[in-house]
Symmetry: D2
């Protein structure tokens, strides 16, 4: 495709991101699902990543790109890694599984393997949104409404059911799990799943820096943390 | 706006990026222009930034976010900075200028100041696309077609004319200048203009890393550069 | 020099850093002064840079290098830039000045130019260490004791005197100014001066991450900042 | 310890790095071994990391810290990770092993476990330095000469012997293995081992940027890689 004739003014940012990853433009249905995934990941809260970006901008205001880069560097195992992990579980779980096969058996095996190795199943549960993460049904509804709720979405749901049964407590699919399932439906390889979060957060981090330019918070964050680290806060408020 | 009810499945990635920067959703016209700007900046060629990202991934494949961050770090003065510079020139140039004022006078002054200080005018000329950068008329057409070709676009064109006259050679508006003009029409402050390139390139860099996973180039790049640095290539091919 | 025969077991880290920058080993006197500069810059307090590194490690514990990189990214204009600025002032100030020339005239001119442009003179004053930064006399003593207190040190002192006289208040040389003067005595170009801080802080940041591994603080920092950002703290404290 | 009275002018950079990591100054013997390790890691060749730093500086010359950060980001699994892996193998291998125990049995077990899992043993072999990496005997000699060649060094050597026997080919200890053994002798935890490389490379990368300022290579590297990527080189060379 030619940038000038085929893309500028014709393809939206989300669709171009799909094109970059898949080598072709999305169908309208794929576009709806892909955009839904990425916008869910544009976090705008005061995450560790956003705080790191703001503190970096404070020290290096000449380098907006450095502040965004610092923020992205925190999207590792703990945050981006869970999407990767969930997508991997789903994609490896369905590898070689024939159409029409019983996915509950696959789910049960995945749960059993994780339980045996004493490892958490990525994509389940959430510390804050209890008992259910409202983003999950919304994302699943977007997939269903666009005819893209296939075997990965089904498997993710079955894993949640089987995990709940095996561990004796509610373990609903969280937003990470839903995103991993939808990304898998779109054929995005798990090794790149973390990258969708990186794209999305880059947008959010630029917005954080814009906010920081207009209404700086870094100096206050610094002095607060420093006070606390040197014990002033404890004693001063004691 | 509420993420679950108002955004997921309803707002596209490009429009959410606009919302993050401006605090409100774009009109359809603004959306068209904003998306046109950002997609133009999703470079997918073998830029220094892309090479840096690929070499970083080679050393640290556990950290996709690190490779993207390394790539973004190169979007400074030389690349991202030129958009910033052009947007600044336009926005400071029109500051306090009354509606209906003669913009040619403003343009002439801008050219004169740059000439006197022996500084390049950002947003003009281009080493490769001669005599004209095909992205420029396309971007301006998108703006005009959406009723968003206002005083910044006009001023940018006049600066090019005046610069050409003052320096005695063709100095057409390049893509950077067009992007800066359109971003200014959308009310994006020049201090954040570099951030639009950062957003866009984050998408392109994730795609580069996906390509690098599937078809690695870093090792070859490394040995080629190393050979050359140690002089083997010259003598070996002499 | 050969790594195996001439460096390992024979050259210390500080001297190797000098060798890397200058292309030759330091004399014992140069070694003393260079090591003094760099160790002064190994900050171990809870700086914005250290907080950013710790928060990044929290999100990406698989990538120690990413956490250190995030911390280094904050060493820009505000922190590292002041050393650069002071070194530049000194080195450009003495460019072309003949041996034996009256340096007070040079100092007066530097102060006058800064005053006219309403710009701070880098390397003077300090918000915390008042009226004097104890690191300054110590660094100057190390230089003098090693016969390396030359024209740059003299000029730095004269700038402080002239600035104090011109502005009517005490403006003593701070550690940044002393470091810039000593680096200039060692012939380190001002463009690289920021790099000495980068080297030094990389060491300090690795130590921060080691501390973070043993005694994590990031989660607490995060929830504290988040609370404050969402106004809970304010209301909670009446 | 007090910076002004106890450190500036008294403690060298290498010893301060030791102090930062260990919480106390090194003995003269520890200092010799620690400095030997770190200087070995100050690579100054055209590594992928150095190329990434130079390309980044090309795009963002306002941000020396960004260029160094980009270079450090490549010190992951492939490079820094091998030191970490070797140190982990040694430290976990000797955990709970009583003084006087037969270390050959420990070595044999380590080799057997790696062989069974089809995993490379970190710290052995080297593609270039064959049959022996000259840095290894030098590092071991420094340790021995300072009375710090203990059980970790012994175990590393025995692992090499056992691996060679089990796999039927020479697998000598490489510099990474020697560094891991010496770092373990100094009580540096394996989780921080990668950090020693990060410290060391930060110094080397600043020197690369200084060289890049004086004698730029990035533009040439870029056009060479770009040519090759677009196939010009291949066809041009027949």
């Amino acid at each position: 495709m030619d940038l000038v004739n085929d893309i500028i003014g014709k393809v939206s940012l989300g669709d171009l991101a799909f094109l970059e990853l898949k080598g072709r433009l999305p169908t309208p249905q794929e576009s709806a699902v892909f955009n839904a995934i990425v916008v869910t990941l544009v976090e705008h809260g005061m995450t560790p990543s956003a705080i790191a970006a703001r503190l970096t901008y404070f020290g290096a205001p000449e380098s907006l790109q450095g502040a965004v880069a610092a923020g992205l560097l925190g999207l590792g195992e703990r945050f981006g890694g869970s999407i990767e992990g969930a997508a991997r579980t789903l994609q490896e779980g369905l590898q070689g599984v024939k159409p029409g096969a019983d996915l509950r058996t696959v789910a049960r095996e995945i749960v059993a393997v994780h339980k045996q190795r004493k490892r958490l199943i990525p994509g389940l549960g959430h510390p804050i949104h209890k008992p259910i993460d409202p983003r999950t049904p919304r994302l699943f509804a977007v997939a269903a409404g666009n005819g893209l709720s296939g075997r990965y979405v089904e498997l993710m749901g079955l894993i949640a059911e089987e995990a709940g049964a095996a561990l004796g407590r509610e373990l609903p699919v969280n937003a990470t799990g839903a995103i991993a399932a939808l990304a898998s439906e779109l054929g995005i390889p798990w090794r790149v799943a973390r990258g969708i979060a990186v794209m999305a957060r880059a947008i959010g981090l630029v917005a954080h820096i814009q906010e920081e330019i207009e209404d700086p918070t870094a100096s206050e964050i610094w002095s607060r943390v420093e006070d606390e680290a040197s014990g002033h806060m404890g004693s001063g408020q004691g």
